[in-house]
Amino acid sequence: MLAETLVSDVLRTARSGGADFAELYVERWKRRGMRVLNGEVKEAASGLEYGAGLRLFYGTEVVYAYTNDLSAESLLELTETLVKLKGRAGQVDAQGRGGLDFRKQAAQGLHAPEVPLLAKDRRYRLERLLEAEAAARVAPEIKQVQTQLLEWEQEVLVATSEGKWVEDRRVRTRYVVTAIAQGEGGMQTGSMGPGKSVGLELFELYPPSVVGRQAGEQAMTNLRAKPAPAGTMPVVIGNAFGGVIFHEALGHLLETTSVAKKASVLSDRLGEKVASSCVTYIDDGTTPHGWGSSEFDDEGLATERTVLIENGVLKGYMVDRWGALRTGLRPTGSGRRQDYTFAPTSRMRNTFIAPGDTPKEKLFEGIEFGLYAKDMGGGQVKPGSGEYNFGVKEAYIIRRGRIEEPVRGAMLVGKGPDSISKIAAVSSDLETAPGMCGSLSGSLPVEVGQPHLLISEIVVGGQA
């Protein structure tokens, strides 16, 4: 995307201005999206994003700049401004002189799409969304159905003053079906949103007729649901997007962004038992076609599979370059950013609880009164106190070991370390689901996952 000589000039200018390390990140995105409501295209939009971010390290201090004027004059001027901002201009480093000998690496296409962005026309896409809509209309009470399709192709170049030159290409596709049911229970919603690092073959992996029906049925379930109970009780959490609870309760606490600053309740605890022994927690950037997968991270490191917790013992953190400098830990290919407007920080990729050996049915046995949180919405956490929450999209009462009537509007809250120690049993039915995760370096695609599992006690926020 940029000439090698220009990249080399930028990095050398930064080094000769006194930076220990310089990294240039360049990207070009093509995005397409459409939103269809009740059979009509409401909005269809396309976009081209193009920009660069330059990051300089002075020890663990960072200066960052970004621009989408990628002319040679603009980039060199920006580099000089950055060097001046740090106030060490003129400290010429001998190593910074001369050309850079880049070692070039390119993506091998491990997550390449079968049907790329330009392969089929817009009508094809619209027809698939209309199929999903038709499937969502499972009952006359379904008054509104909205479907949205998002697709993107991102080309990335990361070049560093250490001679790294990495090119990656990421293709992602997702569609979301939202059904609104209206009746005596007011207006209630149901939604499903499959997404992968694939092209339009997503529609074959997750057929619109199935996804649509699931969204419609969830809305109908919520329509006949009563308000959720309130109080502390045992909860069985569903698989797939159920994993969002540990994304909040655990995952964010293991990113070096807070760990290195001792701003996480799980800082300095490697080797300690931090969870129930039935918990093994893994963050894997290499899952084929995973929604959060890429061959390289946004610092140009190959992604990897990182075991965070093994049988309850803390084994590792998610480490980016800055976190590695601060903690002395090896980087794990976890440096991610939304786009060129953000400097990378340590982030989750595809994070899941490994399967256990308790049959799913056993999880419910012996629960006198509790909640089955079958499908989850998003959540939030404060790493410094571990306090987290997440919303439940579809839930049922468990009474005397049986799944009974549906309830709506529940939220689960707790403190991460406390909740993970209360995981009593883990089933074997691991599944994953896509989500968007917001943090310091922006909003990123991540996969969450888990098998069904039982938490012996958690606060359920409801009205009844």
């Binding site: 459409m34 059979g39 009509e40 295209v41 409401k42 909005e43 269809a44 939009a45 396309s46 976009g47 081209l48 994003e49 193009y50 920009g51 663990t60 201090e61 200066v63 960052y64 700049a65 970004y66 621009t67 989408n68 920006l78 401004t81 817009r122 008054k143 609104i180 007011g186 207006m187 209630q188 919603t189 308000p227 959720a228 309130a230 109080g231 502390t232 701003a263 309740v265 400097a343 998003g378 939030q380 790493p383 410094g384 106190s385 571990g386 306090e387 987290y388 929450n389 997440f390 919303g391 509007g409 529940a410 939220m411 809250v413 403190k415 606060v459 359920v460 926020g461 409801g462 009205q463």
Partner: protein, 437 residues
């Protein structure tokens, strides 16, 4: 090409093909300075901009944007917008007739302080926080400023622009007592750098976090709820979904068909005022070039109307209220500027729970059903006094029921900034469900 030239190129192109088109361009300059352990840990300097085009072909609308300003990229955007439009069934879309809107400067000298002073402000927030022995860690403090240029032009005569911006101080701190840490954020936003006070930002943050130390679980039950202004402002952000004519037309608002009816307690008056002098989100005109004016949405409990852009206004047979919203990457929507709950005659704290902060609004509040169940932090009140801090609880209810159960409104407005400015005083709600131990 610069922005002005790129905008003219796109409009020229549209005229050649015979399309109605509107171009919205924004250019943002940003700087942020983060402090950690007495040094500037991260400095960011940036410029970013792009152009978004909305075209209408035979009454159908399509969108595209580009950040690259080469003729090839601009041609691509125009072609994509055109093809996107052809997908629509519609037939009623239009670009509104526009006017010369002039050039406006809402920022003035707001950000004009030397870099050293801004660095000192970021460092001062951190230093003040670290002086307090209860502060265990200060993960992040920062000074941030943003200057935005907006340019609008259309083939239907709209042309104009404005400059705006904000100056922000923020900090996050972890305080600890008895092995149970608490973390909070504080963000102060202003139009003027000189109006920011690092000491105040830091001390407020410490005070807000310290009062939560030693928190106990809250017993599940129904309590009278008092929302601190910033907590209620967050809730107002969710409630604002109901006032959007776009959501009404799409069958997603609980307030559809209820104009003229009493939908909230008589103590509730909600206004959006884009002309508010010094307002963080003030604007001279909206994303379609409709001049700004204040809009009363709920007056003493009665729903007066919705916020409209030209498209929703035509469909509902009213005039646009000047609430069109669109970033260059986005599609036409409805959005607010400075939305606030008008102050009332005051709240007297008695028995109940004082909610100081809420978490999980994006997941725990469903504006379509109106149901909410949110993680809260707060203080238990007994006999008009703070008895103890409470944690690990949720507050739940329905947004409309909540609006109807407001039993007192405080006298002083405070603002939160969430893309729009949200203002609220202290609010008392007769009864809400709380879940805890």
């Amino acid at each position: 090409m610069n922005f002005e030239e790129a905008k003219d190129y796109l409009l020229q192109k549209a005229r050649q093909i015979g399309l109605e088109a509107e171009v919205l361009a924004t250019e943002t300059r940003e700087m942020s300075l983060s402090a950690f352990e007495g040094r500037l840990e991260e400095i960011t300097q940036a410029t970013q901009g792009g152009l978004g085009v909305r075209v209408v072909v035979e009454g159908k609308v399509g969108y595209a944007y580009t950040e690259e300003k080469t003729p090839e990229a601009l041609d691509w955007a125009m072609q994509e917008a055109y093809e996107n439009a052809l997908l629509q069934a519609g037939g009623e879309a239009f670009i509104p007739a526009g006017q010369a809107l002039g050039q406006h400067d809402l920022l003035g000298e707001g950000l004009s302080a030397p870099l050293e002073k801004k660095q000192a402000a970021a460092l001062a927030v951190e230093a003040t926080l670290r002086q307090d022995a209860r502060v265990k860690q200060v993960p992040r403090t920062a000074y941030r400023e943003q200057e935005v240029e907006v340019v609008l032009g259309s083939t239907q005569g709209a042309s104009g622009g404005y400059r705006t911006g904000v100056s922000v101080l923020m900090g996050s701190a972890i305080l600890e007592r008895g092995g149970a840490p608490k973390q909070s954020w504080n963000v102060d936003v202003s139009r003027e750098f000189h109006a920011l006070e690092p000491g105040k930002t830091a001390l407020e943050l410490i005070e807000r976090t310290a009062r939560l130390l030693g928190a106990r679980p809250l017993k599940t039950g129904k309590y009278r709820a008092y929302f601190e202004p910033k907590a209620f402002a967050q809730l107002l952000g969710v409630i604002s979904f109901l006032f959007s004519a776009k959501n009404v037309l799409e069958g997603k608002s609980l307030l559809a068909d209820r104009v003229g009816e009493r939908v909230a307690s008589g103590l509730v008056t909600i206004v959006d005022d884009p002309t508010l002098p010094g307002g963080i989100a003030s604007r001279p005109f909206d994303a379609e070039g409709t001049p700004s004016r204040p809009l009363v949405i709920i007056e003493q409990g009665v729903l007066k109307g919705f916020a409209h852009n030209s498209e929703t206004a035509r469909k509902m047979g009213v005039e646009s209220t000047g609430h069109a919203q669109r970033g260059y990457k986005g599609v036409l929507g409805v959005g607010y500027s400075n939305l606030f709950l008008k102050p009332g005659s005051g709240v007297r704290l008695e028995e109940g729970v004082l909610v100081t902060e809420m978490m999980g609004l994006h997941a725990g509040a469903n504006p379509i059903s109106g149901d909410f169940s949110l993680q809260a932090l707060g203080l238990k009140l007994e006999g008009g006094e703070v008895a103890y801090a409470v944690e690990n609880f949720t507050v739940a209810g329905n947004l409309l029921t909540l609006l109807q159960s407001i039993s007192a409104v405080g006298g002083e407005l405070e603002w939160e900034y969430w893309g729009m400015a949200l203002g609220a005083p202290m609010v008392e709600v007769a009864e809400l469900s709380f879940a805890g131990a």
